[in-house]
Symmetry: C3
Subunit: 375 residues, 3 copies
């Protein structure tokens, strides 16, 4: 740990010291390396006293005698007289790794998946070209894996269409084996369902195949391989296929975020990246964020958001009869869940799978961790 | 791959070619070996153009210039000029295995579980005789496993009674160890609950035990061993115990299908068989299918239906306050979920666990895969 | 097996014999070693005939000819003439182990977690002192494990506050590594969220940290470590944080039971203990029991109650729009579910995870098993 770091992060000192919450937040903000998050936190701090008061204390809450040195809308740290100087070198080393991981968030890596793709319009048909090929993918800083990807992205390009649209998807297979695309959740005519030997022949290496259909049902859906799928899908042949209802979304979202969960040969990832290379969700206080969870992995992941509840509005693209709140949502492979978050609590909020070994190890957070930043 | 196969399945050709969806469906139909499914697909094809039009295009949708060779309600395949002749022998070999598996569906195996059992009536009591014994079981073609089974079936005989019925179950234990039957989900009087040393003594090898009760609550329930259960249940000592409500089912189903999920020593199975020995669900267009999911395994399985949503009506036999739609339903061990499927989309639809390694490997589909065939 | 045991438990005899349900229950009651459960069962038996009749038969239900030796509201056991003397020594040995486990329930062990903690009041603030330290923990009789615990308890002390309360938690870290407390599900101001390097510095070994806040939202929440959490949480740094709504609970419960599920290095546990050291839930007939399920483990556990349904009222502390019934509830890590049980069915009812290898092995029940005793 450098002297600089110790200055910037009060609590990182080997000598425990009394600090107010305002100092801690300043330390955390300094520790966050990327402008978006840092400025979000700065904005958060500007509103801090008011918010803190609203959340933590009536205006006239008296300070207790033993805590006169703190502002009482936050926390205090003190040396433990029963156990002075107990900090071991191993604990410091562990903290240093944890801190370094968080400071580097969101870390830059080569390649970004799940990017919106604009269709080419041909006689009123929205045309998308997808090429499947094998490539290298940087899943976390310096960590390269083999990916089977559409258009060089993991997840593949994010397709957004409208209910009733006529859509054409031109698939080119540059993989070493056959493949096919299943539009998971879209109630297509059978011949477009993408299951080799049941609804179509396999698309051979070097071949092309065109899917064309009118989109019948709205919702958060997916597209992915349906051949040798236990290998091809988790390796990256997956993407979001989002269908806006004919009459528009019933709930307005200021931010519409797709979170694709995977746990295959790339490790535990959100949108193709593991922490600290995951992407934070950034919103202003008072805004509404929609998150569309999609699980393309092989395990079930209970996703937990700190600080605010999630209102569950849709399952697999279908509205729930009555939305309901939670802070931890269990998302199984093949499932999609839409939630709305009312961003009324400023700060940087951890957002992670609550199967803890998918999110943290002795050397720090990794895998299925991101943050919701409410400015 | 034989010449015959290549003729029958257009897309199986090593030379990619332009084909219409109608050809692909014909190919798939030829590929399906069993009359029920084949004739279902034939019926499906007869309605195809209309359905396809309804689902995929307004009647007057113009053909685009680059696709004049297709009918535009389906897909097209074309050679990829950038990558001619890329099909490797390994890819062909993989496809051949995938095709062979699907062509053999539904494959014949010895023994069929989950068969309705008729009670013997004794003074108004519905009497069922169940004998538990060890035997061999053909879980998939040629794949024999040791089963612990009731009446030679895995799952055991399907028991259907009515709420308020007086039922007697005579259990004979021909196993090498003690056993007992728990009627899972049926709110019986304590002494009939089937938990050795808590509600009854174990039923020793060679002994008999009689359960007798009036059925208090309706719904999709189960019966299974409750002694050394982690061994006895997944080995086959399990079955459906379905109780019709006193006033009859509130939702009419043309087809009422029980799908018992298991993942024990027999591998990944639906009703005691792995694909391609699983049983398709067959319905006519316009019919309503009820599926009663029951998980008797040790893992959670998200079951995904292609082509149509499922309306979730009951959990563990109790009605959901407001039914809700999904296409992927997460079914945990011990849970039962009832869904209704409105069969409005003709075709052969894959129906499988979406934990992909439970459904497909490099050599083709296996395990937790079946199909809904809408004629 | 001793002679005494054979006398007490009729069915444990090596010679199968015809017995009525009343005898079996008596046997089971004798077999249960602990007064609370034994007296509960005794009470249950007093009401038995009435209840049995209500549940199993109309008053005038005729006895069938073949069962004149039983009372017909229960079960009967008979020797199997086709297979006399088949009971093997191995089967007897297995039964002996199963019986011994159940007879010892609830078994005494050193240490009890999840005990209500009373706050110290300081100027209207509810103050709790929590000290985290490493210790030994008896998870089941004679089975010692290393625990990382708050105040010597696994789970940590059960904190119950009221919405709007001002709460102070003084954490002292006597662990060999840094830690922090996250109040999981409580929508606190960001600085109190307990995520080191994001909302606060880590609490170093030997240091103290004070959390202070006004509790904004009601419900079944948790507190646990949020540093090196995949190690610290399942090792025991976890506890219940229950917030009564400002206006009081809308549903009255005679018994309010917190069930914290864990599956870390201590094995499969409920409230820090594995069967037979788990604690039964005891209620009188007609009473209402609330169970607050909380999963602090790394696996999903479908919890199954015998004998009566559970009414699901809350998810993560938020009311479900319309409560719904089930008998098996899937609880994922980080989730909390509140259910109400209407104790209308007297007896001792198994209550366990239905992933059977989490609850039973060849040598008997263990791990995630307890009982609801309705007197």
């Amino acid at each position: 740990m450098t002297e600089d770091t110790m200055d910037a992060i009060p609590g990182a000192s080997a000598e425990p010291a009394v600090r107010s919450r305002r100092d801690f937040l300043r330390g955390a903000a300094v520790g966050l390396a990327v402008p978006a998050v840092a400025s979000a936190l700065a904005a958060c701090k500007a509103e801090d006293a008011g918010r803190g008061a609203a959340r933590t204390a009536p205006a006239a809450a008296p300070a207790s005698a033993t805590h006169a040195d703190s502002d009482h809308s936050g926390g205090t740290m003190a040396p433990n007289p029963q156990n002075p100087g107990a900090a071991a070198a191993a604990a410091e080393e562990m903290d240093r790794h944890h801190e370094a991981g968080i400071k580097s968030f969101p870390a830059a890596t080569k390649g970004k998946g799940n990017q919106p793709i604009q269709p080419r319009l041909e006689n009123g048909v929205k045309v998308y070209d997808l090429t499947a090929a094998v490539q290298q993918w940087e899943v976390a800083p310096g960590q390269m894996v083999e990916a089977w990807a559409y258009n060089g992205q993991v997840p593949g390009p994010q397709i957004r269409v409208k209910q009733g649209d006529r859509v054409r998807v031109n698939l080119t297979n540059n993989l070493p084996e056959s493949t096919a695309i299943h539009f998971h959740g879209v109630s297509l005519v059978n011949g477009m369902d993408g299951v080799p030997f049941i609804t179509q022949p396999p698309v051979k290496p070097g071949a092309k195949f065109t899917y064309e259909f009118v989109v019948p049902n709205s919702g958060s859906h997916m597209y992915h391989s349906h051949l040798n799928s236990a290998k091809q899908v988790p390796s990256g042949l997956l993407g979001a296929f989002i269908v806006e209802p004919r009459g528009g979304e019933t709930r307005r979202a200021d931010v519409d975020y797709v979170m694709i969960i995977n746990d295959g040969p790339h490790g535990y990832t959100l949108n193709g990246k593991g922490f600290p290379a995951t992407e934070p969700i950034v919103a202003n206080r008072g805004q509404k964020v929609r998150v569309r969870f999609m699980n393309e992995g092989m395990m079930i992941h209970p996703m937990h958001l700190h600080g605010m509840p999630m209102l569950v509005t849709h399952k697999d693209g279908y509205p729930q009869p009555q939305p309901w709140h939670c802070d931890t949502l269990n998302v199984a492979p093949g499932e999609r869940w839409d939630v709305m978050i009312d961003c009324d609590n400023p700060g940087t909020w951890a957002f992670h799978c609550h199967i803890l070994p998918h999110a943290e190890g002795p050397m720090g957070m990794f895998g299925m961790v991101t943050a919701l930043v409410v400015k």
